[in-house]
């Protein structure tokens, strides 16, 4: 996941990554990782990535911070619940996959190369 700034609104971080901050710690699926210092309104993505064991690769020149996905469970999916996914269409308008709830959905990945 890409971030332009290491300080991120906590709710945005939760929505984008699927990690939820609860009294028992940061949780995803069945897994909860206790945090000694739970985040407030903002979360430092580099710091929290370290606490959650997520890899960080950054480029300071371009203000880019890439945080890798978790490897807990040793699988790409830690739960069968579809993750939050919002992507733009050709016009740039964001489309939220969750807006299709109530329908069967086939997410089809293709590429022009």
């Amino acid at each position: 996941m890409l971030w332009r700034n290491k300080l991120v609104d906590t709710q945005v971080f939760e929505k984008e990554t699927g990690w939820q901050f609860k009294p028992e710690g940061a949780c995803k699926g069945e897994v909860c990782i206790p945090l000694s210092n739970p985040p407030g309104d903002q979360v430092d993505v580099v710091k929290i990535a370290g606490q959650l064991g997520l890899p960080v690769v950054s480029d300071e020149t371009h203000s880019l911070i890439a945080v890798g996905p978790e490897a807990i469970g040793a699988r790409a999916l830690t739960t069968a619940a579809a993750p939050h996914l919002q992507l733009p269409d050709l016009s740039g308008a964001p489309f939220d996959l969750a807006s299709l709830r109530g329908n069967k959905v086939v997410v089809y990945a293709w590429a022009p190369y």
């Binding site: 469970g73 619940a81 996914l85 992507l87 050709l90 489309f95 069967k104 959905v105 086939v106 022009p112």
Partner: protein, 235 residues
């Protein structure tokens, strides 16, 4: 969802030619790889009415087309003037591509079965099966995804050489991902013009030493075996 660092620039001609009635989205930094474990295209994920994944990312061959679709639609960039002689590399690539195995009949029969029968379909997997069948992921692969996303963003920022370095890291850490490789290769100047330019994905004929990657499409497919390019579909 079109997986392409170049976003609309890369995907627009194809989406406009297809005139889809479904949402057609742009996935510039391959979040489908990170979030769903997509490693090749075409792949698909099935999600039920409650938002539960019932089949994780898997090879999803295009259906066999027996009738003309959108015959009224001109391709936006038709190869109006094909080169008089197909370059040898493309001839070899087409020969390898012809060996790639897929099973569109059974895949699409399964898809129709799920559409009709929902959770009762034998092709709808349990949550445990969905997780177990999703791609393996360890700390190295997780790091590889971070390198890939950074590379893609650097490419867009105009920092091509830095992007290449991170693409290389991603390739080494997630060697099973064809999309990570093909994406990076397709961003190199192939030295040819037209809609096939991004499919060259290898050293230029006139300057092979300039190719920055260890592999390329033709060499890698030949080394790994075209018959292994796409994992066999499992009911």
């Amino acid at each position: 969802m079109g997986l392409d660092t170049l976003g609309a620039e890369g995907c627009r001609p194809y989406i406009e030619a297809a005139q889809p009635e479904h949402p057609a989205l742009l996935d510039q930094h391959h979040v489908l790889a990170e979030k769903f474990g997509v490693i090749n295209i075409p792949s698909a994920i099935w999600i039920d009415e409650q938002g539960m994944i019932v089949r994780p990312a898997e090879a999803a061959p295009a259906p066999l087309v027996t009738t003309d679709v959108h015959t009224d639609t001109q391709a936006p960039e038709p190869a109006a003037e094909p080169p008089p002689v197909m370059p040898e590399r493309f001839m070899q690539m087409m020969g390898e591509a012809a060996k790639i195995q897929s099973d569109p009949e059974n895949y699409h029969a399964a898809l129709r079965d799920w559409v009709q029968h929902g959770a009762a379909s034998r092709y709808a997997l349990s949550p445990e099966q969905v997780i177990t069948r999703s791609r393996p992921r360890d700390a190295d692969k997780s790091l590889g995804h971070a390198h890939f996303e950074l590379a893609s963003a650097l490419e867009l920022a105009g920092a091509h050489e830095r992007a290449v370095e991170h693409f290389k890291q991603a390739h080494a850490l997630v060697p099973e991902s064809w999309t990570f490789r093909r994406q990076a290769w397709s961003l190199e100047d192939s030295g040819i013009e037209g809609p096939l330019a991004r499919f060259w994905q290898g050293p230029r004929d006139d300057d092979p030493e300039a190719w920055p990657y260890a592999g390329d499409w033709l060499s890698d497919v030949q080394a790994e075996g075209a018959e292994n390019y796409s994992e066999p579909w499992q009911p």
